[in-house]
């Protein structure tokens, strides 16, 4: 047996190009569906895990999928907004604890998640560096954000303007990073977290500026009355919240009317969750309530259908490739007819010749299997980041 393997090995080494092509073809046929399976399983796991751990989500009526993708995975599609009153409404029911979310703005491509500190308790997120933000205008960042942008506590991020040509828009807000989260291997690694009020400041619903009742610069005053001072657009608004100017920051309007993209509702028990869902089924209710797990299960079912199609395509293509390989092999045998004849005349039995050819095939398959295993190990090792970058 060893002799056959040795001869086969020497033959394959001598015909490097042919061996390489054969190995690549077999590796691709084997690795592609398996790698896809690994990635799809991982994406299903990630999506399902995050959805399962988020009991109920309340948002504006409309696409449940957009609501879930924006709130749980910080997707780009921003759903219609609701107001902070929705949080109070949940609190008043006594059935669930609400966590407001405002996921609309970005900073250097990463979503800014405006929320409360309860979010971090709920998601069991720990800090790897620095401290939690304490005042408005500060933020903490996910592990991947820190790694990709090479940021650490003490550095700054700036909110990106929503449109380039928004002349009357708000100034970007420069936020100090107070901490970096430990890796959690989900969407939280790729987000910038700030207080919900900071998100409102980014939107322009709150701002800071010099005290117009005391300013000596009359050019910023539009009208001054006994009981009211109106400033004009020249009044410069602060683009960073610091300890020196935070007292000047204020929200214009009642916070209860300020926007949110969703409210995460954490029912106190299963019964409370069911009752809460029932209350939002009424037609007059301006909001919808969804169970993220159900939305994601529906999405997974659709992806599963697509996966079946993909599997069928891969099977078809793979079969065609295998047939082509068989053709190549048989053509190769025909080309080696003289060589086989010489081996036969040297005294090798037919069985030995079959063993020799079989050994070649065996080695090719062995090498392909090794490369395939290596590729799969690589995919498996980086499956979480690959899924995040490719699918989610």
């Amino acid at each position: 047996m060893m002799d056959s393997l040795y001869l086969a090995w020497r033959y394959l080494v001598y015909n490097k190009k042919k061996t390489f092509i054969l190995v690549c073809c077999i590796t691709i046929i084997a690795a592609l569906p398996l790698a896809l399976e690994v990635l799809l399983n991982e994406s299903e796991r990630q999506l399902a895990l995050r959805a399962k751990s988020s009991p109920l989500l309340i948002g504006a009526k409309g696409s449940a999928l957009d609501l879930v993708m924006n709130s749980l995975y910080f997707g780009d599609e921003v759903p219609e907004t609701i107001t902070m009153a929705a949080t109070d409404q949940v609190m008043d029911t006594g059935l669930a604890a609400p966590i407001p979310l405002y996921v609309r703005f970005k900073s250097r491509g990463f979503p800014i998640v405006g929320t409360t500190l309860d979010y971090f308790d709920f998601r069991s997120l720990e800090l790897a560096q620095g401290d939690m933000f304490t005042m408005l205008g500060q933020c903490i960042i996910g592990a991947e954000v820190a790694r990709e942008l090479a940021l650490k506590p003490g550095d700054f991020v700036v909110s990106s303007p929503e449109t380039l040509f928004d002349i009357a828009g708000v100034y970007p807000l420069k936020m100090k990073i107070t901490g970096v989260l430990a890796p959690s291997h989900n969407a939280d690694d790729l987000a910038v977290f700030a207080d919900i009020q900071t998100a409102w400041v980014i939107q322009g619903l709150g701002h800071g500026h010099k005290d117009v009742t005391r300013t000596t610069d009359s050019s910023v005053i539009l009208k001054k009355e006994e009981s009211n001072v109106t400033a004009n657009a020249k009044l410069m608004q602060y683009t960073e919240i610091t300890k020196d100017n935070i007292d000047s920051f204020h929200l214009h309007g009642d916070a209860i009317n300020f926007p949110l993209t969703a409210v995460l509702a954490l029912p106190y028990d299963e019964k409370a969750g069911t009752i809460l869902q029932g209350r939002y089924l009424e037609k007059e209710m301006p909001y919808q309530i969804v169970r993220p797990k159900e939305v994601i299960d529906t999405l997974m079912a659709n992806i599963f259908k697509i996966r079946n199609v993909l599997d069928a395509v891969i099977l078809f293509v793979g079969s065609a490739t295998l047939l082509a390989l068989v053709l190549v092999f048989s053509l190769s045998l025909r080309l080696r007819e003289r060589e086989i004849d010489v081996i036969f005349k040297l005294g090798c039995s037919r069985a030995t010749i079959v063993k020799l050819l079989g050994a070649e095939l065996f080695i090719i398959i062995l090498i392909s299997a090794g490369v395939c295993a290596g590729l799969l190990a690589f995919v498996h090792y980086y499956d979480q980041s690959l899924v995040r970058s490719l699918f989610i």
Binding site: T116, L117, D118, M132, T134, Q197, H209, V229, T230
Partner: protein
């Protein structure tokens, strides 16, 4: 022989296994941070041995206007419960990040009944002032019916956190409620006796006291440890033409020079301490009882 030696050790181990969890749970204390002394007092009364209540504001500072540093804010963030007064008290809470689900707004139950104060300057782009009582009156506990509701909010929050101790919390709350209702009854009786007798108050913090107990109070912007300037004395003279009050209510012991000047105007001084911070002597209950005694002077 070996089994005889190991039996007592085994027995001790078994006993520890059963008693240690009890000791751990008995020692479990909720850490509660508050923003003023009345709420601290209520939480201590209701929570008893099961709570550790902390008011980080220094004793010589008015907690309503105190601002904590980052380290103290972080302590608040780690607390099991953060008891807030609501009604705009402790404005610093609006500029920092605190866990919403662990915050208790004790005046939420009567938020529609809060007193809103008209300021001299409205806001289009900014009212101002180093120290302003504009917005909402925040000394909600001076109305003892409101104080009872605030205590109840604390009670409910404690029961949610430690449901196993509901019995104890309930007993403690009922006791506190009884004390507050007694104070309410006494002040109501005084309010009836005084029957809209005009008063001055040194500081605009008695809105709820005036409303609940039907007291006719005109409020100044004076400090007990400062002698008002000539303009303020002039202003008092002008108001007293129509508001013929014979008593000035101070939030703390005033300067003797201020008392003297008031006496020359025919106005006596009494102290009605709002007890925003921990008193040097006594507690919330004893301070309020002393306040009621002082108020009785107005008709004795």
């Amino acid at each position: 022989m070996r089994s005889n030696r190991s039996a007592p050790i085994l027995l001790m181990f078994v006993i520890l296994m059963f008693t240690l969890p009890l000791k751990v749970s008995a020692g479990e204390k909720l850490t509660i941070y508050t923003v003023n002394y009345p709420l601290t007092y209520f939480a201590e009364r209701i929570g008893g041995d099961h709570v550790k209540v902390i008011l980080p504001a220094p004793a010589d500072v008015d907690p309503a206007f105190w601002e904590p540093d980052d380290d103290i804010v972080r302590q608040y963030q780690k607390a099991d419960l953060i008891i807030l007064n609501g009604a705009g008290y402790a404005k610093w809470t609006r500029k920092v990040s605190l866990p919403m689900l662990r915050m208790v707004d004790t005046s939420r139950a009567f938020k529609d009944d809060l007193v809103h104060i008209q300021t001299n300057v409205t806001h289009s782009h900014g009212p101002g002032g180093d120290h302003s009582h504009g917005g909402t009156a925040f000394t909600t506990w001076l109305d003892f019916s409101q104080a009872t509701m605030q205590a109840e909010a604390i009670y409910r929050a404690l029961v949610r956190k430690l449901p196993a101790q509901k019995q104890i919390f309930s007993e403690n709350f009922e006791e506190l409620r009884g004390d507050l209702q007694e104070l309410d009854k006494q002040l109501a009786a005084i309010g009836e006796r005084l029957a809209r007798v005009p008063f001055f108050a040194s500081h605009p913090i008695y809105q709820y006291l005036a409303r609940r107990y039907n007291m006719n109070i005109k409020m100044m912007m004076w400090e007990p440890n400062e002698d008002p300037d000539d303009n303020e004395w002039q202003h008092l003279q002008e108001i007293s033409q129509e508001h013929t009050a014979r008593w000035m209510i101070w939030e703390g012991e005033p300067l003797s020079v201020s008392m003297e000047k008031l006496k020359n105007m025919g106005i006596n001084s009494i102290v009605y301490a709002p007890c925003m911070n921990r008193p040097e002597n006594g507690d919330f209950l004893s301070v309020m009882q002393a306040n009621i005694q002082n108020l009785r002077k107005a008709y004795q």
